[in-house]
Symmetry: C2
Subunit: 81 residues, 2 copies
């Protein structure tokens, strides 16, 4: 079963990568872009019988390995298949 | 208006980062994790009047700047606010 994990910097944490992308877009003429935040995205293939079980495993993996809970927050999604 | 852009390597492209994460998870005891693919996730704040307009700007930005269309594919979402 596929699980999707989205990891983003917490809103209070400065995101230099996103700032650089926003500046680059401005210099390319995209003045309508106010702000960019960059995060990470993981697609995990979990062997699980139910969506609940897959969600549980993906959340544990996200919390322990994929995200740094001090500065990052994460969201887990199980897409309907 | 917020737009979300997801950039992932095309399925035919080898993802060494994802492979490393999967191996690390196996060695940590998560044997139920079959495969991991890593991608990028961007939250863009676009000045647009309609969702369609925001979608258009975000797609253009994704195609020209955020993704490398040769090896990556992208998906744009306008979350309901």
């Amino acid at each position: 079963m596929k699980a999707r994990v989205f990891v983003t910097l917490k809103p209070s944490v400065f995101d230099p990568q996103g700032k650089t992308i926003a500046d680059a877009l401005h210099s390319l003429g995209y003045t309508g872009v106010a702000d960019v935040r960059q995060g990470k995205f993981f697609e995990i293939d979990v062997e699980a019988r139910t969506a609940d079980q897959a969600f549980h495993v993906a959340s544990e993996v996200a919390d322990k390995v994929l995200a740094n809970p001090v500065i990052e927050s994460y969201r887990v999604e199980i897409p309907e298949s």
